[in-house]
């Protein structure tokens, strides 16, 4: 599978490269290093959220509440910044991560202790968190002029040619890779999704593993909330509405199996970049904004179809496994 996965990731790189090359024939400069860095920066938040989503999906769960978590936490952070401009930014970021992790822990707790299916839990908390954002803000907005300059400017400050936002995404990517491949938690996540029963038999607490995955996903949503509010310089109830589906799409395109247990950090990153390139290219090559959503949707469906076909190839291996006991029974 490793070789196969690598092939798939190389394939994604090739497809993204072809797309970039194709778009640059219509829009000169699309493939320039500056524009590519821009696209990466634009996609940074999606990458961070997709990595959290991926960890949850690996354990055979799903987190539909990430965007609502982001909206609530973003509102809380922006309002705090507006009300107490003297608070240091580091504290605000810690607060964002903490609130996000707490909301993620609520999801995780409901899934773990009450054994409610993750899709039901997070569909519920999706509405609750957004509702809480409304209650918190009373439906109001926090606008750029209410935010402190450092709150707004630090993520866009360039360091070594890339904005800090991009660097944060890169650090998170490396961190996620480390957690998933070098820590027992990562192995437990793969095992819990790959075969929950076998994981239990091997002494892994899959409930706890899922709980941690949700906390991680929530914490990343919290971090993203600050990045989002700062980037768009506004906080209101509906920010990132529907963005949870983009994170799921990025994972699926990147070859993370919705059934759990299969996927890599590189896949999630490439899946996000794939979406990022399309979103950036469509306006540039002059496609009407009305058609853009439909076209992104079509591309996502195509990617999923392609994925399903690829999984079928892997399915043959599963079939062989099935055939073996059947031969014998």
């Amino acid at each position: 599978m490793n070789r196969f996965l690598k092939n798939r990731e190389i394939l994604l790189v090739v497809i993204i490269a072809i797309m970039v090359a194709g778009f640059s024939t219509r829009a000169p400069g699309f493939a320039s290093p500056g524009n590519l860095a821009n696209i990466f920066n634009d996609t940074s938040i999606l990458i961070i959220l997709a990595l959290g989503q991926m960890t949850v999906i690996l354990t055979k769960s799903i987190d539909l509440s990430v965007a609502a978590n982001l909206a609530f936490t973003g509102m809380a952070v922006a309002m705090t910044n507006a009300a107490y401009p003297d608070l240091p930014l580091a504290l605000l970021i810690v607060m964002a991560i903490g609130i996000g992790a707490f909301l993620g822990a609520i999801n995780g707790f409901l899934v773990w202790a009450l054994q409610i299916p993750p899709i039901v839990v997070t569909l519920g908390t999706l509405t609750i968190y957004r509702g809480m954002a409304f209650v918190l803000s009373g439906g109001g907005w926090v606008n750029a002029h209410q935010m402190t300059p450092s709150f707004l400017n630090i993520p866009r400050t360039p360091v070594l040619g890339l904005p800090i936002l991009s660097w944060i995404a890169i650090v998170i990517v490396l961190g996620a890779w480390f957690v998933l491949t070098r820590l027992p938690f990562g192995r437990a996540a793969y095992a819990s999704g790959g075969n929950p029963t076998a994981a239990v038999y091997a002494g892994i607490d899959i409930g706890w593993t899922r709980f941690l995955a949700f906390v991680l996903s929530g914490a990343l949503a919290g971090l993203s909330s600050y990045l989002w509010v700062s980037r768009y310089a506004v906080a209101y109830v509906d920010i990132a509405a529907g963005f949870e589906l983009d994170t799921v799409a990025a994972c699926v395109i990147g070859g993370i199996s919705i059934a759990g247990g299969i996927g890599s950090v590189a896949g999630a990153v490439l899946g996000s970049l794939f979406l990022g390139v399309i979103k950036n290219a469509l306006p540039v090559i002059g496609i009407s904004p009305f058609a853009q959503m439909a076209i992104s949707g079509i591309v996502i469906v195509l990617a999923v179809v392609f994925n399903a076909r690829a999984e079928k190839k892997a399915g043959r291996i599963i079939l062989r496994d099935r055939a073996a006991p059947e031969v014998s029974a």
Binding site: T181, Y190, N195, A198, V200, G203, V327, S328
Partner: protein, 511 residues
């Protein structure tokens, strides 16, 4: 109908009658396994043909070919001397082949009638489902099976035996001339088996050809006229049961000396390691006590549903017993989860390796190291090199055949997967290893290897609990045998007193 024909491995004498269905030179190849190798069989109207063979002999593969699930790589199928192929399950049904499966595939939430006619429901002239016909025909079918189950009740409200009747009714609801029964008696009591046999006699009188798969000889002799013996994917003998003694069939089935398959090594039995006192579970087993000594192989025998696996799972902390004490090497221990058991040195190699044993998408070495991650990690970080070293050690020891230790376990054959499961548990360096049906579903060559290995482990001083439904395995490998019946320990027998008869009597309660 019953021509007296001498027992023979030759097809010719049987050719005197006209078969409804004939399979000629059928081969089925899976990656790494030749499940069937040039098999020929014939089924005759009004007769039952018993298909006999050990696990892994290819019986179920044959059934899957006849029901259109697999397409054979070689050979042909003839019905009434006309060559035919089954490109789909529907094609097999259309050709008049129907099967009653070992594990019945029915829907709990649907009614009896819906289950019977699912996929071929009668229609009204407007094209909608004709419920009146479904219910009346279901009733008639159930009546034919001497059962008065109401077709409108949901399947989940029925007992196992009643569900079985529904499965049979479903098989008979299509116009079938050939009925395949794949171990139909496995989950039935003696009385239910008698009922089933009456149904089979009825089918015979209607001139249907029946393929009856079982490895219970008494049943086979009771109900069948002809037999075919499969071994390692080949048909090694067929003929008339009336004139073939049971010994002959056993010889054909096993095909080698029992000694070769069960290389039992005499081991010095040491001090008690594990003692179980009064273990009980609310529903599955009651008041089980036994002692396991160093180097001992304790066989646990019983019928399906006797509570054997449940007992072992609770010793491993998967399910919790309601009462009972456990001592390991004289120290009382409590096992609340599988990680407690692993830490204490008790491990469990589950029966269904696909479902319980392995994460198929994960590489071999990661599967092997999964319960030993604490040992292979350094200050909380995974060390791939340590994991690989661990995996390599046990792969060599178990003679695991794989392209690389980094390939997913799902790419291995059944026998090699079993080796990964065993290796992964040995790597935890246990004191007690519980093997649940250790050779179920693997071919006879791998079986001998697994048995040899079990003996080796015992010789090294491990204590082994071996749950098995296969009498020869229990008889060949155990130092002592505990027989379970309906959740109770029906007796513990020393090796000297072991015989098939004693164990079966204890397991079934027929004194």
């Amino acid at each position: 109908m019953m021509n007296a024909v001498a027992p023979t491995n030759d097809l010719a004498p049987l050719a005197a009658e006209t078969p409804i269905l004939e399979m000629r030179g059928i081969s089925q190849i899976f990656p790494g396994v030749k499940a069937l190798d040039g098999v020929s069989i014939r089924l005759y109207p009004g007769q039952v043909t018993a298909l006999i063979g050990e696990n892994g002999a290819g019986k179920s593969t044959l059934v899957k070919i006849l029901t259109g699930i697999y397409r054979p790589n070689e050979g042909e199928i003839l019905i009434d001397d006309q060559p035919i192929s089954f490109p789909s399950a529907q094609a097999a049904i259309d050709a008049g082949v129907t099967a009653i499966h070992q594990e019945t595939v029915l829907f709990d939430e649907l009614t009896v009638g819906e289950n019977i006619f699912l996929g071929h429901a009668p229609r009204t002239r407007f094209g909608t489902i004709d419920w009146r016909q479904i219910n009346s025909r279901s009733k008639a079918l159930m009546h034919q099976l001497e059962s008065e189950i109401d077709p409108t009740i949901r399947l989940r409200d029925l007992s196992i035996a009643q569900r079985h009747l529904v499965a049979i009714a479903r098989a008979l609801s299509v116009e079938a001339r050939i009925v395949i029964m794949d171990e139909p008696t496995a989950a039935l009591s003696r009385k239910e088996i008698d009922d089933l046999f009456r149904i089979v006699e009825g089918l015979k009188r209607q001139g249907k050809a029946i393929l009856f798969i079982s490895h219970k000889f008494d049943e086979v002799y009771e109900i069948a006229e002809n037999f075919v013996v499969f071994r390692d994917g080949r048909a090694v003998g067929q003929g008339k049961l009336k004139t073939t003694p049971q010994d002959e069939i056993v010889r054909l089935m096993v095909g080698r000396d029992v000694k070769d398959v069960f290389p039992k090594v005499t081991v010095e039995i040491g001090a008690p390691v594990l003692a179980v006192h009064g273990y009980s579970h609310p529903t599955e087993f009651r008041d089980i006590s036994f002692e396991l000594r160093r180097g001992e192989i304790l066989g646990v025998y019983g019928l399906i549903g006797a509570g054997r696996s449940e007992l072992c799972q609770s010793l491993f902390g998967i399910t919790r017993p309601s009462t009972g004490r456990l001592t390991l090497e004289g120290q009382p221990i409590e096992i609340r989860s599988s990680s407690d058991a692993i830490r204490a040195g008790i491990v469990y190699v589950p029966e269904e390796r696909g479902r319980h044993g392995l994460a198929l998408p994960m590489p071999i070495f990661q599967n092997m190291s999964l319960p030993s991650l604490k040992k292979t990690s350094r200050s909380g970080f995974l060390k791939a090199a340590n994991e690989l070293a661990l995996a390599r050690k046990y792969a060599e020891r178990l003679d695991l055949r794989a392209a690389a230790l980094s390939v997913p376990v799902g790419t291995l054959s059944g026998g090699n997967q079993q080796k990964v499961v065993i290796g992964k548990w040995l790597a935890t360096r246990p004191k007690v290893i519980i093997l649940d049906e250790p050779t179920k579903g693997i071919d006879i060559g791998s079986k001998a290897a697994v048995h040899g290995f079990i003996s080796e482990l015992a010789a090294e001083g491990l204590s082994i609990i071996m749950v098995s439904s296969e009498l020869p395995e229990i008889l060949g490998m155990s130092d002592r045998v505990m027989v379970m019946r309906e959740g109770l320990a029906a007796g513990v027998f020393e090796r000297e007193r072991l015989s098939a008869e004693v164990l079966v009597r204890a397991a079934t309660g027929n004194q």
